[in-house]
């Protein structure tokens, strides 16, 4: 067994377990911490996929910034633990879980039947090249300059929106 296969199963195992823990823990803060752990596992998987830049950004932005915001709000609001998840509306929730399992089986089947790797010949060198900061930066500031600008407006709008909703006093 090769080392990357072992690493994949290790990280995938962590991702699977933590993602299930996120939706089953009754305490929201514990859920958030498991979500952070899940993001770390994903960052590891990105490294296995030769996507160094995204891997770093995943840790800095997702685990570092977004999840800290979540934890901050959770601790600010200090919400109570939820009642056990399946305690109310039980048939509806079982139905939701059943549907989810069904959809998962279907997607998994599709992925094996459709075999997306059929048309793709992996090229290790191209893959390593495409994940570097140079490659991404070059694309981002040439072909993708307009989306980049739009993302700027998106962040501006989000900042203004968050300010409007959270500012102390109304005039």
């Amino acid at each position: 067994m090769k080392i990357d296969l072992i690493l994949f199963f290790l990280l995938a195992g962590i991702a699977v377990v933590t993602s299930i823990l996120v939706i089953t823990r009754r305490n929201a803060i514990i859920s958030a911490v498991f979500l952070v752990l899940n993001f770390f596992a994903l960052a590891g998987l990105y490294l296995l996929l030769n996507a160094q830049f995204i891997s770093v950004v995943q840790i800095i932005v997702y685990a570092g910034a977004i999840m800290v915001l979540f934890l901050f709000v959770l601790m600010l609001l200090r919400t109570d633990n939820e009642s056990p998840i399946l305690s109310d509306k039980r048939p509806l929730k079982y139905f939701a879980i059943l549907i989810s399992v069904f959809v998962f089986v279907q997607i998994a089947y599709l992925l094996f039947a459709g075999k997306p790797s059929r048309n793709i010949t992996p090229d290790e060198a191209a893959s390593i090249n495409s994940g570097t900061i140079q490659a991404i930066g070059k694309e981002l500031y040439t072909n993708y300059i307009i989306p980049f600008e739009v993302a700027g407006f998106l962040l501006l709008a989000a900042t203004i929106g968050a300010l409007v909703l959270a500012k102390k006093k109304f005039e």
């Binding site: 599709l110 040439t142 072909n143 307009i146 739009v150 407006f153 998106l154 709008a157 989000a158």
Partner: protein, 477 residues
């Protein structure tokens, strides 16, 4: 490839709004009287962009290495977005004082949301669609809850936000699968090789997830759960914006993504999907609206059923029905914004006076408003010769051309059901006596918004060829 300065000039509509947003932020920060300046500044911006778009409709070009499209279809959509937003801003000036959120950020957010819609309509790359959609949606989440002292507004914002971002998850996952099979996010590539891709099951799955996501945004059944609450809870003018231009933007994306189906004659593999959501939305919207007494909620259900009629056009998917959809969207935008402007004038403080009883005897109190409301109701019901009739007519004829006669017949039946609740408003206004006495304060700007919408609705109704010719000229570009 390096882009030339000329390409930037061709982006004029985006530049006007984009620079306008930045200037608005500067005005809001630096000027004490920004509350008075910003509405007028926005009106000028929107009007300039609308005028620029409609006059430069023939200058079709794809810029920045296949990223953005200007002229053609996007120009018509930009016209609808900007004119619609202009009318909404006009009716907001008086309304926001009543509603208790009289501040400048409101206008900046409307401008940003319009920029998002324009990006969606002009996109030639799935990445642009995604960013435009998010820019629009994030502004709408905030606008829905902009009066954070009101529980109703809070709830509307939260519902819209949670369901909207849930949808985003589906859209991103769908895009991932599309990207995986095509190896690129370019829409031109998608259009050119659609027939080849559509035999790939993963691609179809991705596209279906994408379509489900956008079915949320156009408010089609069974993805409509958020619509009534959000439309009722948000500020009336904001609802006017969300229900018209927001829906138009989502439809523009569907039209872009399915271009190859209606121009290159690829097999319409999504016919069953669109037929199903069309039938469900038409009937669900029309039937549930009958029992509604709150006018905003009634128009929310009517918006669902209108999404159904437009989806008939997507199921038919020939170039005639697509022009029909665009015409319908333009007509629907102005008649709905007009109706919401009237509601925002009648509405009192604290969300009062939105029930249908309030409209009893409106004719004796304010005959002008009553006449315009009647006009909008007739148009929404699709009674000839109003704009709404021709919208439905073109879409249904398109459906018959694609051998979907049964769908057209169901559409006609559903619009006959819907006549009931539109006419009910008119009956209340003209044939019932007023139950309570209240003063209607008609701000001049709000009234001019109503008048302009009314004139546009009449114009599209009496001379439908004028607009339709513009649309058919560019629809297959």
């Amino acid at each position: 490839m390096p882009s030339t300065i000329n390409e930037y000039f061709q982006l004029m509509p985006f530049l006007i709004i984009g620079i306008g947003i930045i200037l608005s932020v500067v005005i809001e920060i630096s000027s004490k009287s920004s509350k008075e300046i910003l509405p007028w500044f926005s009106i000028i911006l929107f009007f300039a962009t609308a005028l620029y778009s409609i006059t430069n409709i023939s200058e079709h070009a794809v810029l920045f290495g296949g990223m953005v499209e200007v002229g053609g279809k996007p120009a018509i959509f930009n016209f609808i977005f900007n004119l619609g937003a202009m009318l909404v801003v006009m009716s907001s000036i008086g309304y926001l004082k009543k509603y208790g959120t009289y501040f400048g950020e409101y206008y900046i957010l409307i401008q940003s949301s319009v920029l998002g819609m324009m990006v969606m309509a002009g996109s030639k790359d799935i990445l642009m669609i995604f960013l435009g959609l998010e820019l629009m949606s994030i502004c709408f989440y905030v606008l829905a809850g902009i009066n954070r002292n009101k529980l109703g507004a809070n709830e509307a914002a939260m519902k819209y936000f949670l369901l909207g971002s849930f949808t985003t998850g589906f859209i991103v996952y769908g895009i991932a699968l599309i990207y995986g099979t095509t190896g690129t996010t370019s829409i031109q590539n998608l259009i050119d090789n659609f027939g080849e891709y559509s035999s790939n099951i993963i691609f179809v799955t991705g596209l279906i997830l994408f379509l489900i996501g956008f079915s949320f945004k156009i408010a089609a059944v069974p993805f409509h759960m958020w619509v009534p609450d959000v439309y009722q809870g948000s500020a009336t003018t904001v609802t006017g914006l969300m229900s018209t231009t927001g829906k138009t933007a989502a439809f523009s994306v569907l039209i872009i993504m399915l271009t190859s189906i209606f121009t290159l004659n690829s097999a319409n593999i999504f016919k069953p999907y669109f037929s199903a959501i069309a039938v469900l939305s038409m009937f669900f919207g029309s039937i549930v609206a009958i029992s509604q007494n709150n006018l905003k909620r009634m128009l929310a259900y009517s918006s669902i059923s209108h999404a159904g009629y437009m989806a008939v056009g997507l199921a038919a998917a020939n170039s005639y029905s697509i022009s029909g959809i665009i015409f319908y969207l333009a007509a629907y935008a102005f008649m709905n914004i007009g109706a919401f402007s009237v509601i925002s004038i009648i509405e009192g403080e604290n969300d009062s006076r939105t029930d249908i009883n309030v409209y009893a005897g409106l004719n004796s109190k304010n005959p002008v408003l009553a006449a315009f409301m009647a006009l909008f109701m007739f148009a929404l019901a699709g009674i000839p010769p109003m704009a709404g009739f021709f919208g439905k007519y073109y879409v249904f004829v398109g459906a018959i051309e694609s051998n979907l006669t049964w769908l057209a017949i169901l559409g006609v039946i559903s619009s006959m059901i819907s006549v009931y609740f539109y006419l009910r408003v008119i009956v209340f206004m003209y044939f019932k006596d007023a139950e309570e006495n209240f003063e209607i304060e008609v701000a001049p700007y709000s009234l001019s918004s109503v008048v302009i919408s009314g004139v546009l609705v009449l114009m599209f109704g009496l001379f439908p060829d004028m607009l339709l010719r513009l649309i058919t000229a560019v629809v297959s570009l």
